[in-house]
Amino acid sequence: MSAHPWVRPYVLTGGRTSGRRQLLVHTLVSGREYDPAFASRLLPEAKALYDRVHIVSESVAELSAHCGVSLGVTRVLLSDLAAGERIEIGPETTSPYDPRLLERVIDGLRQLA
């Protein structure tokens, strides 16, 4: 499934295994202004992610799956793109147990039940 299964992940990430900011599997990512010249200079994996987030806003896990880039590499590449202000990372949730968040999700689910 990976675009280049023979390329070791550290080649793509410059040896790093984690990014500047922790990206959870459900953290939402989306594009900013698409820059074709910038995109053309990216490695295939980074370009696939950069292109995809400018089409749809998706979670880190979805981007990893749809671009065929392993989750660890996806995290590092997205983190780099965000640090360069090329993409937007969703808000850091204060706490997954925040009662306000839980109530909103429960309200939404009750409409499906």
């Binding site: 599997v25 939402l28 979805e62 749809h66 392993s70 996806t74 706490s95 429960i106 689910l109 009750r110």
Partner: protein, 208 residues
């Protein structure tokens, strides 16, 4: 986190900084219906990814597969439910095999709750998942019996006894094929989280 300057959701997609995402983990042994449950309510087909593999997982997984496969694939699937223009809920099914437990930690980080799905015909396959959430995770969880034929063959107290489930852990039943039933189970899981995490918690981010 609330952004006062959010544009009107009716005029177009919101910028991502105002869209929140939450996550519920769906665990349980192989074949208990996790993928079915995710698929019953997800607006996208459950994504079953092989791209999940990381170096860390590779090093802890030296087992050669019986069929001679050299690459390990991980059955990890997830679904997505847009609950509001600015709110998305993700469901993550855990890979069933214990040797992927480091990935369970990763999946559970930041989760609002978890559902351990059990099949009463094969309770034992879900023991490891119950143990994981009882002992190795802080994520509040409930246990749900998947009624494969829509009928309960085992009374819940007997299931609770067989699973050695403490009284404070909610036990319920559901039909993993039915969207409404799944929505109710997920609601129960989050209601349990609200109860279990109510009150001041050390280390929690607080708002004035």
């Amino acid at each position: 986190m609330v952004y006062g300057s959010s544009p009107d959701p009716r005029t177009g997609p919101l910028p991502p900084r105002s869209v929140e995402s939450a996550k519920i983990v769906v665990a349980g042994g192989f074949g208990v219906g996790k993928t079915t449950l995710v698929g019953a309510i997800s607006e996208i087909p459950p994504v079953n990814t092989e791209a999940w593999m990381t170096q860390a997982a590779r090093t802890i997984d030296p087992l050669g597969e019986a069929d001679g496969k050299t690459t390990t694939t991980v059955a990890m699937d997830f679904g997505r439910i847009t609950l509001a223009p600015d709110l998305v809920l993700y469901l993550f099914g855990t890979p069933g095999q214990p040797r992927f437990w480091p990935m369970w930690d990763d999946l559970c980080r930041g989760a609002s709750g978890a559902v351990v799905l059990v099949d009463t015909r094969r309770l034992d396959v879900s023991f490891p998942a119950v143990n994981y959430f009882e002992n190795d995770s802080d994520v509040p969880f409930i246990v749900a019996v998947n009624l494969f034929d829509g009928i309960s063959t085992h009374p819940l107290p007997a299931v609770r006894e067989a699973l050695r489930l403490p009284p404070e852990i909610p036990l319920t039943s559901c039909d993993a094929r039915d969207r409404g039933s799944v929505a109710r189970v997920l609601t129960e899981a989050l209601a349990h989280t609200m109860r279990a995490t109510a009150g001041p918690r050390p280390g929690a981010l607080t708002t004035p």
